[in-house]
C-alpha cells in the first residue's frame, strides 16, 4: 500500500506546566510493527491518545488514514488496546466482544465469525462464555487484545499488550502480530520489555516527551555502538541527561 497509516508532525502537548510531548514526528507506513519505548511517564500513552484523537494536540498535526485527527469516523478503522483492561466484568467475554463489535459497526452476520476469529487468535475460545470477573490478569489482557481485533482493523494501536502474559503466549501473540503484518496491517506498540522491542521493525525512544532516537533496531544498536536495545536505551538516556545538565 502506498499510503502511510499514521503521519504525526511536530506534535506538542502539555498538561499544566509539564511538556508531555515535544515536537514529535512519527510516520507509520502499511505493513510495519512500530515500537514506542521509553520509561513510564515519557509520553507514550499521550502520543497514542493523540493519534487516536482522544487528546487534542497543542500544535502540529496528526493524520490517520489521511484524515486529520481528532475524527470520530476514522476510529472504526483503528483497533485499540488500552494500557489498563477496560472490560465489563459482569459480562462474559463473548458479551464484551459483541458490545465492542456493535460499537465498531461490525455487520451482524459477520459478528459471530469475527468473535471466533479474535478469540481463537488469543486462545480464549473455550472461555468465551465465562464472566470476565472470573478471568486471570493474563486472560483479561488477551481479551482486550481480542476486542482490539474485533473489526479486523488495518491499524492496531496496542498500549503495552503483553503485560502479564506468560512467555509461551507472548510468543504466540507476536507470531500472530507478524502474520497480521504480512497481510498489510500496521501496529503501533508501546512496550517496556526490551526483547519485544527487538521484534519491532522500527523503534522510537521517547523520554521526557522528546524523541531521543529512532530507527530499525539494528540501526540503533549500530548508531550507539552497543549490543542490545536495552543498552541503546540506557545510553541515550544518559546522553539526554548530560545535555540537560549543560543547558
Amino acid at each position: 500500500m502506498a499510503t502511510d497509516y499514521v503521519i504525526a508532525k511536530q506534535v506538542r502537548k502539555h498538561f499544566g506546566h509539564q511538556q508531555v510531548l515535544n515536537q514529535i514526528d512519527l510516520t507509520l507506513p502499511a505493513g510495519m510493527i512500530y515500537g514506542l519505548i521509553g520509561p513510564s511517564g515519557a509520553g507514550k500513552t499521550t502520543l497514542i491518545k493523540s493519534i487516536l484523537g482522544m487528546e487534542a494536540v497543542d500544535s502540529g498535526t496528526v493524520k490517520v488514514m489521511d484524515t486529520v485527527m481528532p475524527n470520530r469516523a476514522v476510529m472504526a478503522q483503528v483497533g485499540y488496546m488500552a494500557q489498563s483492561d477496560a472490560l465489563y466484568e459482569t459480562l462474559t467475554a463473548r458479551e464484551n466482544l459483541t458490545l465492542f463489535g456493535q460499537l465498531m459497526s461490525v455487520p451482524k452476520i459477520k459478528l459471530a465469525q469475527m468473535i471466533d476469529y479474535a478469540a481463537g487468535l488469543v486462545d480464549l475460545t473455550s472461555q468465551l462464555d465465562k464472566r470476565v470477573s472470573g478471568y486471570s490478569g493474563g486472560m483479561k489482557r488477551r481479551l482486550s487484545l481480542a476486542i482490539a481485533l474485533i473489526q479486523d482493523p488495518q491499524l492496531l494501536i496496542l498500549d503495552e499488550p503483553t503485560v502479564g502474559i506468560d512467555p509461551e503466549l507472548r510468543q504466540q501473540i507476536w507470531t500472530e502480530l507478524n502474520k497480521l503484518k504480512d497481510t498489510g496491517k500496521s501496529m503501533l506498540v508501546t512496550t517496556h520489555v526490551m526483547d519485544e522491542a527487538e521484534r519491532c521493525d522500527y523503534l522510537m525512544l521517547i523520554r521526557h516527551g522528546i524523541a531521543l532516537a529512532e530507527g530499525t533496531p539494528a540501526a540503533l544498536k549500530q548508531q550507539y555502538a552497543v549490543d542490545t536495545i536495552e543498552q541503546v536505551f540506557l545510553k541515550a538516556g544518559r546522553m539526554q541527561d548530560a545535555n540537560d545538565g549543560n543547558r
Partner: protein, 415 residues
C-alpha cells in the same frame, strides 16, 4: 444501533446485579410499608401528668385518654418530673394553676397542653351553665309571681267588667254591654300568651372532605412526594455510581475509543436506566394503591409520566454529579448535599410559608416540581393541563443536564 448496544449492556449488567435490583425494587416497598404503619393516626400516645393539690373538678376534666394522672405530695415540679419520669406537673395555689412541662417529648407536651386547655374550657362552661341555670330559676320564679299578679289583676278586671256588664244588661243598655264584652274577651286573651321560654340551640357539625376522607392520614398526604423521592433517590444513586464505575475502570474511555457519539452513550444510559426506573415506579405505585388502598383521584398514567420525568432528571443529575467524584465513597457524599435537601422542598413543609430566599432554593430543586405535580394528581385529580408547567420544567432540567453531560465527556475524547 450503538445506543441500543449500550442499552442492552446496561440491562444485562443490571439483571446480573441481583443486589442492586433488589435495592431498586424492594427497598421502596419496604420503606413505604414502614411509613404506612408509622404515620397511621396515632391515638395511643399517652402523656403522664403529675398533680399536686389540684381541685378534683379540674383533675376530672383533664383526665382524658391521652393523659394519665398521678397524684403526688410534693409541690416541687422539677424534682418530681425527674424522679418519676413525668411529662408534666400541675400544682395549684388558691385559684392559680401552675404547669411545668418536661418538654423532652414535644408531642407529649402538646397532649397535656391540649387536654389542660380543653379541660379548663369545659370547666368554665360548666360554671357558666350553673350560673345560667340559677339565673333562669330566679327569672322563672319572678315570672311566676308576675303571672300570678297579672292573673289576679285580670281576675279583678274580669269580675269588674262582668259586674259592669250585668249592671248594663240590667239597665237595658245594650251598646255599653257589648263594648264591655269586647274588653272582657281582650282581658282573658292576654293571660294565655307569653308563657313560652327560649330554648338554647345546640350545634352539631357535619364534615365534608373535598379531597380524601376522614381517614386521610399523614401518610396519604405525603405519599405522592415520597413516591417521587424514592424514584429520584435510587435512580440518582445507581446511575451516578455506575457511570463513576465506567470512569474509574476505564471502560468509558475505552467506549470513547470507538466511533460512538458522546450523545449515544448518554442516550443509552437514559433508555437503559430509564427502563428500570419505569419498572420501579410501576411497582411502587401499584403496590401502594392496592396494598394500602390509597385513594388515587387523578390518572395513574400522569403519575407514571411525572415519575419517569423525575427519574430522567435524577439520571442525568447522577451522571453529571459523578463527574465531580473520584470514588464511590465521594459519590455517596453528594447524597446529603444534593438529594436530602430536596425532600424538604417536596411539600413536607409548605413552600408558600417559607422565607423568600428559601422559596428561591425550592425553585431550583427538581423534586419540588415533581412532588408538586404528583401531589396535585394523586390528591386533587389534576390533569395534564394543571401540571404541565411542572412537567415542562422537569424536561428543562433534563435537557440542560444532558447537554452538560455530553459536553462533559469531551474530557475523555475531543470529538
Amino acid at each position: 444501533m450503538r445506543t441500543m448496544a449500550i442499552v442492552r449492556r446496561v440491562f444485562k449488567q443490571m439483571l446480573r446485579d441481583k443486589r442492586t435490583l433488589a435495592l431498586m425494587f424492594l427497598a421502596p416497598l419496604l420503606i413505604m410499608t414502614l411509613m404506612y404503619f408509622l404515620f397511621q393516626n396515632n391515638t395511643t400516645q399517652v402523656a403522664s401528668l403529675g398533680v399536686h393539690h389540684v381541685d378534683q373538678s379540674v383533675v376530672n376534666v383533664i383526665d382524658t385518654k391521652n393523659v394519665t394522672i398521678h397524684h403526688y405530695d410534693s409541690s416541687q415540679a422539677r424534682k418530681m418530673i425527674k424522679q418519676h419520669d413525668l411529662d408534666g406537673y400541675l400544682t395549684q395555689k388558691n385559684g392559680q394553676l401552675t404547669i411545668t412541662y418536661s418538654n423532652s417529648n414535644p408531642t407529649n407536651t402538646f397532649l397535656i397542653k391540649a387536654s389542660l386547655q380543653s379541660g379548663l374550657v369545659k370547666l368554665k362552661m360548666k360554671t357558666l351553665v350553673t350560673v345560667t341555670k340559677k339565673q333562669r330559676a330566679a327569672l322563672e320564679s319572678q315570672q311566676a309571681a308576675l303571672k300570678k299578679l297579672t292573673a289576679a289583676q285580670t281576675q279583678a278586671t274580669v269580675t269588674k267588667l262582668k259586674t259592669a256588664i250585668a249592671q248594663a244588661q240590667a239597665r237595658g243598655d245594650q251598646a255599653t254591654a257589648e263594648k264591655l264584652q269586647k274588653q272582657l274577651k281582650q282581658a282573658t286573651a292576654t293571660t294565655s300568651s307569653s308563657t313560652q321560654s327560649a330554648k338554647a340551640t345546640s350545634y352539631t357539625t357535619k364534615s365534608h372532605y373535598i379531597y380524601g376522607s376522614s381517614d386521610s392520614t399523614f401518610f396519604e398526604n405525603f405519599l405522592p412526594a415520597f413516591l417521587g423521592f424514592f424514584v429520584f433517590f435510587f435512580v440518582f444513586l445507581i446511575s451516578g455510581v455506575s457511570l463513576l464505575n465506567e470512569r474509574t475502570t476505564g471502560t468509558l474511555s475505552r467506549l470513547l475509543a470507538t466511533p460512538i457519539r458522546r450523545s449515544e452513550i448518554i442516550m443509552g444510559y437514559l433508555i437503559g436506566y430509564g427502563g428500570f426506573a419505569i419498572i420501579q415506579t410501576v411497582l411502587t405505585v401499584v403496590f401502594t394503591i392496592t396494598v394500602f388502598k390509597i385513594h388515587l383521584v387523578g390518572s395513574i398514567w400522569l403519575v407514571f409520566l411525572t415519575n419517569l420525568l423525575l427519574a430522567l432528571v435524577a439520571l442525568t443529575l447522577g451522571i453529571f454529579i459523578s463527574t465531580f467524584a473520584n470514588s464511590e465513597f465521594q459519590m455517596i457524599q453528594f447524597i446529603p448535599l444534593i438529594v436530602v435537601p430536596q425532600i424538604f422542598f417536596a411539600g413536607l413543609v409548605p413552600v408558600d410559608g417559607m422565607a423568600s430566599w428559601l422559596q428561591a432554593i425550592a425553585h431550583i430543586m427538581p423534586l419540588y416540581y415533581g412532588a408538586n405535580a404528583l401531589t396535585a394528581v394523586v390528591t386533587k385529580g389534576a390533569g395534564l393541563g394543571d401540571i404541565g408547567v411542572n412537567l415542562l420544567i422537569l424536561v428543562g432540567f433534563m435537557v440542560v443536564l444532558t447537554m452538560l453531560n455530553i459536553v462533559g465527556m469531551k474530557r475523555y475524547r475531543k470529538v
